[in-house]
């Protein structure tokens, strides 16, 4: 059927609420408002205020409440409106969700799913344009997912809910309106492996989430002058499926990583380091990273565009490593 990333996400939530009574959705404006990006529109009417639960502006409290509820047998889906506000709940995620199982010697578990929107590109300026999923990918005890396709928007949530440990799902704001086909029987997807979204022999483009469309567009352009890029969608940021990445680099011998995070200390740095540490002798050119400029995101369109990874930047990097 024809659908959108937003609708696929909504369908995933609806399905979970329908099939598992332990599941509930909780967050700011998920109910009456329908979700600040409209993802949960209509679910309050369908499932009622107990299971589609509007919260006050209290990120630390309701994320922590999700952790507590998960420990007590529920399967909460907590929505943090955007990653920008998740700093207020980071202590709960780092020091409780990710830690309780280990700290208790395996007695406790936190089967919690936290969804949040990430990324820039809509002129929302410095405080509303962060891409901090790389930070979360640093935390042992968490799983971190970044659906970049409609299939993954539909399928990652049920898989995350099946996981006995806390899973964070980062939805890039620029993807919600992405339209496309989805199989009528679409359901859970594998959340361990990266996916090759385009095959190519000359160069490996590695990315995830909101920059997948950008990387694919760059691959098209590169193809025009005969450079065939393989495009890898990491999908899972923690754990990282380095196997798929290394396998590809072993055939292309060249890699460019595209990541909307600030360059220094980005997830792209980890990927770059792993490639060079484990496939040094496979590399015919230094790995390159195409990341965001290291500035708080400016509001003005021309400055924001200049700060973010663009197709042209990826093409330049691709030519550089293959040229």
């Amino acid at each position: 059927m024809k659908t959108t990333y937003r609708e696929a996400m909504r369908e995933a939530i609806r399905d979970a609420l329908t099939t598992d009574e332990r599941v509930f959705l909780m967050g700011e404006d998920v109910g009456r408002y329908g979700g600040c990006f409209g993802v949960s529109l209509g679910l309050l009417e369908e499932f009622g205020p107990e299971r589609v639960r509007d919260t006050p502006l209290s990120e630390s409290a309701f994320v922590g409440a999700g952790i507590g509820a998960a420990m007590a047998g529920m399967r909460p889906i907590v929505e943090i409106m955007t990653v920008n506000f998740s700093m207020l709940a980071l202590d709960q995620i780092l020091n409780n969700a990710a830690t309780l199982r280990h700290m208790s010697g395996g007695q406790l578990g936190v089967p919690l799913v936290i969804r949040m929107t990430t990324g820039a590109g809509r002129q929302l300026a410095a405080q509303h344009s962060h891409s901090l999923e790389g930070w979360y990918a640093h935390i042992p005890g968490l799983r971190v997912l970044a659906p970049a396709t409609i299939e993954d928007a539909r399928g990652m949530l049920p898989s995350a809910l099946d996981d006995p440990d806390p899973v964070l799902i980062f939805e890039h704001g620029s993807l919600y309106n992405m339209a496309g086909e989805l199989a009528d029987d679409a359901g859970p997807v594998d959340i361990d492996r990266a996916a090759i979204r385009r095959h190519g022999r000359d160069l490996t483009l590695i990315t995830y989430g909101g920059t997948l469309p950008t990387a694919l567009a760059a691959a098209d352009e590169l193809a025009v002058d005969g450079v065939h890029a393989e495009v890898i969608d990491l999908r899972s940021l923690r754990p990282l499926d380095e196997h798929t990445v290394l396998e590809s680099v072993a055939t292309t011998h060249r890699a460019v990583i595209v990541d909307e995070g600030w360059r220094s200390g980005s997830l792209a740095a980890e990927v770059s380091a792993r490639i060079a540490e484990q496939a040094l002798y496979e590399l015919d050119a230094p790995v390159r990273r195409v990341c965001s400029a290291e500035v708080p995101m400016p509001y003005a369109k021309h400055l924001e565009d200049a700060a973010l990874p663009q197709v042209a930047d990826i093409v330049v990097a691709g030519r550089a490593v293959t040229g």
Binding site: R32, Y33, P56, S58, Q123, Q127, H128, V295, L303
Partner: protein
């Protein structure tokens, strides 16, 4: 009714009309895609800005939220620097880097423009602490919404300011909604002034639709704070006539409720009172409108023509320029 009181009323009226017309034009400019990103309108709440800031002098400081056009204008910023900012132009008060949510004017001690709910409160506490330590007789007015009262930061800042008896005027713009969440679903105790009094500071609620009552309460509050009585809390009961932001379809409110509040429109209320007291007639009103319209036209024209910040300066102002 003295001359002076009549003059004050005319100024209050003009102040509110400036805000109203400014934002009405902003909506047009947003539809014309001249302004982008998030834009939050103050329409309906003008009495708060116009009334409150009359109590402050140039030595005082103001900290606000993303819904700050009205406060910026009331604080004396020109329509030109505001519009240029929203156009993303170099002549904007923040050189196009901030946009609608991040209006600043250091020369007027207008410290933004903060887009993290509750994020401005600690800044206000710090500004007041510095003024106290430097023996400056300044007052810091800190504005935030009813939703911010649910954030932990509110609590920490109220306690800290009260504990240290700092010269802060906490001004809660209670417009009864946090995005789509009504006051009664944000707070267990909806009498916010009562809540504030539990920190041992003077707190009271004011009809935020009556600019004269606001101005009066603000003067009393500023006087007590300046006199060294420690912080105080003003709950300004108001209402936003428009949606939360230009992204908001406004599905969560009963239209009749909006209409009821519009009957208390702060501008028409004051205008009627002035007419009754023979302080206002159609000619005067026409003059005010004409002046404001002219100011607006000049500002729009200037913003249109203003240059963009050069892309080379993208990373400027991340750190101080080094000579």
């Amino acid at each position: 009714m003295t001359e002076l009181e009549a003059k004050l009323r005319t100024e209050l009226l003009t102040g509110m009309v400036r805000i109203r017309r400014f934002e009405e034009r902003c909506v047009e400019l947003y539809s014309a895609s001249k302004i982008r990103g998030f834009m939050h309108l103050y329409i309906g709440e003008e009495a708060v800005a116009a009334g409150l800031l009359r109590a402050l002098g140039p030595e005082d400081a103001v900290v606000s939220t993303y819904r700050e056009h009205g406060l910026a204008l009331a604080r004396g910023l020109g329509m030109d620097v505001l519009l240029a900012e929203m156009f993303g132009k170099r002549t904007g008060c923040s050189r196009g880097r901030g946009g609608s949510m991040h209006i600043f004017d250091a020369s007027r001690r207008f410290y933004g423009g903060n887009a993290i709910v509750g994020g401005g409160l600690p800044l206000a506490v710090g500004l007041a602490l510095a003024d106290r330590m430097r023996d400056r007789p300044a007052v810091t007015a800190c504005l935030f919404g009813d939703g911010a009262v649910a954030e932990g930061e509110f609590h920490e800042c109220m306690n800290l300011a009260a504990l240290w008896r700092l010269p802060v005027m906490f001004c809660c713009e209670n417009n009864r909604y946090a995005m789509g969440t009504a006051l009664s679903r944000e707070h267990a105790e909806t009498d916010l002034a009562l809540r504030a009094s539990s920190y041992g500071m003077r707190s009271w609620a004011v009809d935020g639709m009556d600019v004269e009552l606001v101005a009066d309460a603000a003067r009393r509050a500023a006087d007590t704070v300046r006199a060294g009585a420690g912080p105080c809390f003003l709950e300004l009961r108001t209402y936003r006539f428009r949606a939360h932001s230009l992204y908001d379809p406004d599905r969560y409110r009963d239209k009749a409720e909006i209409e009821r509040w519009k009957e208390r429109d702060p501008i028409t209320q004051l205008a009627a009172r002035m007419r009754a007291d023979g302080q206002l007639d159609d000619t005067v009103l026409a003059e005010i409108d004409a002046d404001v319209a002219a100011e607006l036209d000049r500002a729009v024209a200037a913003a249109e023509e203003a240059p963009l910040e050069p892309v080379e300066d993208l990373t400027r102002h991340v750190y101080a320029d080094r000579g």
